[in-house]
Symmetry: C2
Subunit: 336 residues, 2 copies
């Protein structure tokens, strides 16, 4: 009887141990949506290096700063920056209060939902739409408008909510870095106030760790209530050479890791990865998401009107930046 | 024999228990340099309220933002802002490279160490000195200059290093808040790049949590090295109405606690403590350090040329802001 009891107990124990080992294997993969490949390997090696106590490559926690571009890096950006779609929607919503808009471009096209007309107005037209939709408004009112839009609007081709179009592998990467003592920041050409509305919930990145293109603001006492009003004045264009400036101004120290996807991120990657002196042996990692997946997402690079990746792709070889092949290296693109 | 052994054991146990209770009492006072009084009581009540799970007054950790002015709040500011003394020193150090300065005010007075001459040049002269000492310089070179100065310079009357003139009660308050899930920020009229050099070591506040008056900057590739160069252009004047703007721009959410010492902090305290609607019952705390201690520090308020506290003192009653009487409420001013 005793022997009979021991055998099933041993069998159960073995099954339990095997399950535990499988579980632990799954739990020990911090990046399950990243296929085994050069990018995953290099990222894990980098994190291992900087977190190894006593190693020459060790970086103290406060200096483990990682910066992420947003459009095309943390969420999708095709067929047009999502913030641009919000701007058009908001101009339409504000049309009744601004009767002049119906007579002048680019407002007219925006109100009529004519995206071709909007695009035809060029950068100048887009700037006018941005000011019309993002300035001369109380900060809280603007944030509420973004929040309402995100809750209802859907992407023109996927039909998803925009916050469902964040990249699952990037959510895992952000978590993995934070679990290893990194502080994660967004450094985006997009509007700082737009991104702050959803960054905490979508990415676990609080408002104070979002850097982006910034409009001026003023303080007003309005009926006894302290109020911030957004002004139609550009304070920081957080793109290209503006990204290192934004990092310097908002964060105040150089990142050791930067992740982007376009030429707009090149200077941020340079600033992050090129040591100031040969004596500086701090490990530094540059990562570029290469959009190669026309089926699950979009495929574009050198000639794209959005997220053009040309010079930075050439420079990636010289600098040793990772070029993440989305199609080959990501087993999943969006969260389920 | 048994009874004999038990009695000393009981006695030892009692001594041990009493010691433990004394230790625990000491350990349980998070603000030992704050005397029992209205300010200490109100601060502890506030922190208890916002950290009590399930209470109507509970505030989730990410929203526990506390902002501190620097000059006169975290460290001393008499007889003149320490950063001003640095600016004068730096102009003197750069004089040989700028021969024109010897012929023109306010540079001439600064080089000659004539502080009266410097002050006579007024705000316009001070701004010129700030630009001369803080701009047209690489970010790292500037930070090193501040660091070198802090390591050697001594206060004209106390003979202390400037970083020894931080307030012990404030160091305790910062620690106490952080231990209770607060994120602590500096929001200062002083230069952001100046404060960032010592804030982490002196206050435990990392560079990315320092907001201050900000000059422009540009990105340059210099001999293949990415370089930030500070420019002679004011981007944010982080004083008075500029403080809520700085908070909005850099932090992106309203603090629930703000600490200052002068009229320059009034709008920050308004922005922090006045609810936007009657429905908002979030506890909010405004604190003003009142310099009342001519013996251990300085005594000044309504008519001071530095750190003038006049309107904000009047408003403190109406708003329920704490007015901390340094002389009466602080058992220690500077660290030993």
């Amino acid at each position: 009887m005793k022997g009979f009891l021991v055998r099933p107990a041993q069998a159960l124990l073995m099954i339990w141990l095997v399950s535990l080992s499988m579980l632990s294997q799954a739990a020990s993969d911090p990046l399950p949506s990243w296929k085994e490949g050069p990018s995953k390997k290099a990222i894990i090696e980098f994190v291992t290096q900087v977190t190894k106590p006593g190693a020459a490559t060790f970086v103290p926690e406060p200096e483990r700063i990682a910066t992420f571009d947003n459009d095309g890096t943390l969420w999708a950006e095709q067929p047009v920056y999502f913030q641009g779609l919000f701007a058009v929607e908001r101009v339409r919503a504000l049309a009744d209060k601004n009767p002049d808009w119906r007579k002048a471009e680019p407002y007219k096209s925006a109100i009529e939902g004519d995206m071709k007309g909007v695009m035809a107005s060029g950068m100048e037209g887009l700037e006018k739409l941005l000011v019309a939709s993002h300035a001369n408004v109380e900060a809280e009112v603007f944030a509420q408008a973004v929040s309402d839009w995100l809750a209802t609007a859907r992407h023109p081709t996927t039909g998803k909510h925009y916050t469902q179009m964040v990249y699952q592998p990037m959510l895992e990467l952000l978590d993995y870095l934070r679990a290893n003592g990194f502080k994660t920041f967004i450094v985006s050409g997009g509007g700082i106030d737009f991104i702050r509305v959803f960054a905490e919930q979508s990415y676990g990145i609080p408002p104070e760790q979002v850097v982006g293109t910034t409009l001026g603001a003023r303080f007003d006492m309005k009926d006894g209530v302290p109020t911030i009003v957004k002004e139609p004045k550009l304070v920081l264009m957080d793109d290209k050479v503006g990204k290192p400036v934004g990092i310097y101004q908002y964060i105040g120290r150089r990142p050791i890791m930067a992740v982007g996807n376009s030429d707009g991120d090149m200077q941020m990657l340079q600033y992050t990865t090129i040591a100031r002196s040969e004596a500086d042996k701090t490990p530094r990692l540059g990562v570029i998401v290469h959009h190669t997946d026309a089926e699950r997402e979009w495929a574009y690079d050198r000639t794209s009107h959005i997220g053009k990746l040309d010079k930075a792709m050439d420079e990636s070889k010289q600098r040793g930046w990772l070029l993440v092949d989305m199609k080959k290296e990501w087993s999943q693109v969006f969260p389920e």
